[in-house]
């Protein structure tokens, strides 16, 4: 490999690829399918444990998104910077919803 093609490594960088096995990926996929089945069943059969089925649906969706981000997108093994950045983005979005919601819920 030519000198200029070597990837830059700064202190604190994670070095070397983190290889996730096929089997592990498959397990994650299975979990996601189960969660999908759950959310469909809860909705179609109307068996949500709490009154607002939308809360249940959003909770399951968030869990699925978290699984995809952590395992398929390798966030769990990446540098913590990405998780902090992602957390701030989520926080901002929540604040947008809450502050706008305050307006509409108190009219």
């Amino acid at each position: 490999m030519a000198e200029k093609d070597k990837p830059r490594i700064l202190p604190g960088d994670k070095t070397g690829p983190h290889i996730v096995s096929y089997r592990f990926h498959f397990g994650i996929w299975l979990g996601l399918i189960i969660l999908t089945a759950m959310t469909v069943l809860v909705s179609v059969m109307g068996i949500s444990l709490i009154a607002f089925s939308v809360i249940t649906a959003l909770f399951i969706a968030s869990a699925k998104a978290w699984v995809v981000a952590s395992y398929f997108m390798h966030l769990k093994w990446d540098h913590i910077t990405y998780r902090i950045m992602g957390g701030i983005v989520m926080l901002l979005f929540l604040v947008f919803i809450i502050l706008t919601g305050i307006d509409y819920l108190t009219r």
Binding site: V95, F96, L99, T100, Y104, T106
Partner: protein, 534 residues
């Protein structure tokens, strides 16, 4: 391009011809491309502003019809906001100086950098097309408030698309800078040895990155509404126009920090250089930049106090708004404290710095009047607001921009301008600016509403004074530009470090070589403003 290049290794000498510029991935050339494009649009915006002032010199019709006036102020707003003041400092000085100041040779993604310039050009073309296509430029104001923006026959669709495209350019610049600062700092430059301008750009870039998509999608919804005729924001069809205002200001309030934070960064650079003293409270300035960027996301509602938002929401937004004043004030205290007991060298850039602090103070304090719920109800949509944001945007950001132009001109072009002429131009600009905008605060309090081409006779005198101020300001601008154009061709050779600055850009030749440095830059362990470093 014929240029004041003074030495054979300068980046101007590297390649020649127009193509070597418009397809260059060199951050310095892209910075200059932005410089010429943005400055051209600034002048267009100035001319539109002068026309508006001329119309307002007397009550009733003076030089234009009401409809033309509506279109002129919209175009003035769209050009000044989206084409000038949002990109001006990050795209010009950020591009040119950020890599040099952190000791590297380019941004992290040079090709994306070029792409963002081209997207800017395409967006600008869209904005200009509104002039010639269809029923003329938009007459909605730069905010494109629904439902009027959905119903008017003027060319809102194109104007909105222009803003959408320009937002994309802004996002890419921000993305590039964040990665550049994370990855390309000089090996010994830890986060807290970074110059404050780089910190300001870092905070700004996060706003560009995270706020712009919201306005992008909002503007797309306006386009969809116009094309498909559905009532997303039209109360007659079940939509809610206030929701449009929420979405618009979720971006556009943080956007005012895109405009002012880089200006504050420039001030934080110029003050140590001309006080010959390390900056007072480096970390406080860093954290206040980040705090402004963060809190800036939560205060958008103060633009909507009179538009029908609920009472509790108005109180919440008013309280949050006061929080932003704290970090801004911290900065001003630190700048003044840096000057205290410094060996102050009063040169042209420092004059602009002083004007910035003075005018930003007026702009900031009148901002509190607008942010306080009780007083805003009275001054909302009056000339008080127009005066306030011109004090912040023109008196603040644009004066910092002029200051930066004079501060870094010798570095960018390798030549020095006539300082006496530059100081005269500054004096005209400073006097003209305050004569132009201070009367607006007064007539605003008296009750003159904004965005009308006409007014009651009792507002006549302040408006005449204001218009006269606009002429003085224009004279100052012309003198400043002429001085710099002459300097670019005939000025004395500036040398590496005409001001005795200590940040890394002063360690390299003027203009810098293609790879920015001819020797590995030296850093002080005591931070970026160590005036004992020899």
């Amino acid at each position: 391009m014929s240029i004041a290049a003074s030495h054979p290794s300068s980046f101007y000498a590297d390649k020649r011809g127009i193509l070597s510029w418009i397809f260059s991935t060199d951050h310095k050339r892209i910075g200059l491309l932005y410089f010429y494009a943005i400055f051209a649009f600034f002048l267009v915006g100035v001319v539109l502003g002068l026309l508006m002032r001329l119309e307002l010199i007397a009550p009733g019709r003076t030089i234009m019809e009401p409809q033309i006036y509506n279109q002129v102020f919209t175009l003035h707003g769209v050009i000044m906001i989206f084409l000038f003041i949002i990109p001006v400092i990050p795209a010009i000085f950020g591009n040119f100086f950020l890599p040099i100041m952190i000791g590297t040779d380019d941004v992290a993604f040079p090709k994306i950098n070029l792409l963002s310039w081209w997207i800017y050009v395409i967006g600008a073309i869209f904005a200009l097309l509104t002039l010639v296509v269809g029923d003329g430029p938009a007459d909605t104001g730069w905010t494109f408030y629904a439902p009027y923006s959905v119903k008017t026959g003027t060319n809102v669709t194109l104007a909105v698309l222009a803003a959408f495209i320009l937002g994309f350019s802004s996002i890419l610049t921000g993305l590039n800078f964040i990665v550049t600062i994370h990855r390309l700092r000089a090996p010994e430059m830890s986060w807290f040895r970074m110059p404050l301008f780089a910190w300001a750009l870092y905070a700004t870039s996060w706003i560009q990155l995270l706020a712009t998509p919201i306005v992008g999608i909002t503007l797309l919804m306006i386009v969809a509404e116009r094309v498909f005729g559905i009532g997303l924001f039209d109360p007659a069809l079940g939509g809610d126009p206030i929701l449009y205002q929420h979405l618009f200001w979720i971006y556009s309030h943080p956007a005012v920090y895109i405009m002012v934070l880089p200006a504050m960064g420039i001030i934080s650079e110029m003050i140590p250089t001309f006080a010959k003293r390390t900056i007072f409270g480096y970390r406080a300035i860093v954290w206040s930049s980040l705090a402004i960027a963060f809190i800036g996301y939560f205060v958008w509602g103060h633009h909507m106090f009179t538009s029908g938002m609920s009472g509790p929401a108005r109180v919440v937004f008013s309280l949050l708004t006061f929080l932003v004043a704290v970090p801004s004030a911290i900065k001003v205290f630190n700048w003044v404290a840096t000057l205290y007991q410094g060996s102050i060298d009063v040169r042209t850039p420092l004059l602009y710095t002083m004007a910035f602090i003075f005018q930003f103070l007026i702009g900031g304090l009148t901002g509190l009047v607008n942010g306080a719920l009780a007083t805003d109800v009275h001054v909302h949509d009056t000339y008080f607001v127009v005066g306030h944001f011109h004090y912040v945007m023109f008196g603040g950001t644009a004066f910092a921009f002029f200051g930066a132009m004079h501060y870094w001109f010798p570095k960018m072009f390798g030549r020095m301008y006539n300082e006496r002429t530059a100081n005269t131009a500054f004096t005209l600009l400073f006097i003209g600016f305050n004569i132009l905008y201070f009367p607006m605060l007064v007539v605003g309090i008296m009750g003159m509403p904004r965005r009308y081409y006409d007014y009651l006779p009792e507002f006549h005198l302040p408006n005449v004074i204001s218009t006269i101020g606009s002429w003085i300001l224009a004279a100052g601008l012309i003198l400043m530009i002429a001085n710099l154009i002459v300097a670019r061709r005939k000025g004395a050779i500036a040398g590496r470090n005409p001001w005795g600055g200590v940040t890394l850009e002063w360690q390299t030749p003027s203009p810098p070589p293609q790879h920015n440095f001819d020797e590995t830059p030296r850093l002080s362990e005591k931070g970026p403003y160590d005036f004992d470093l020899k």
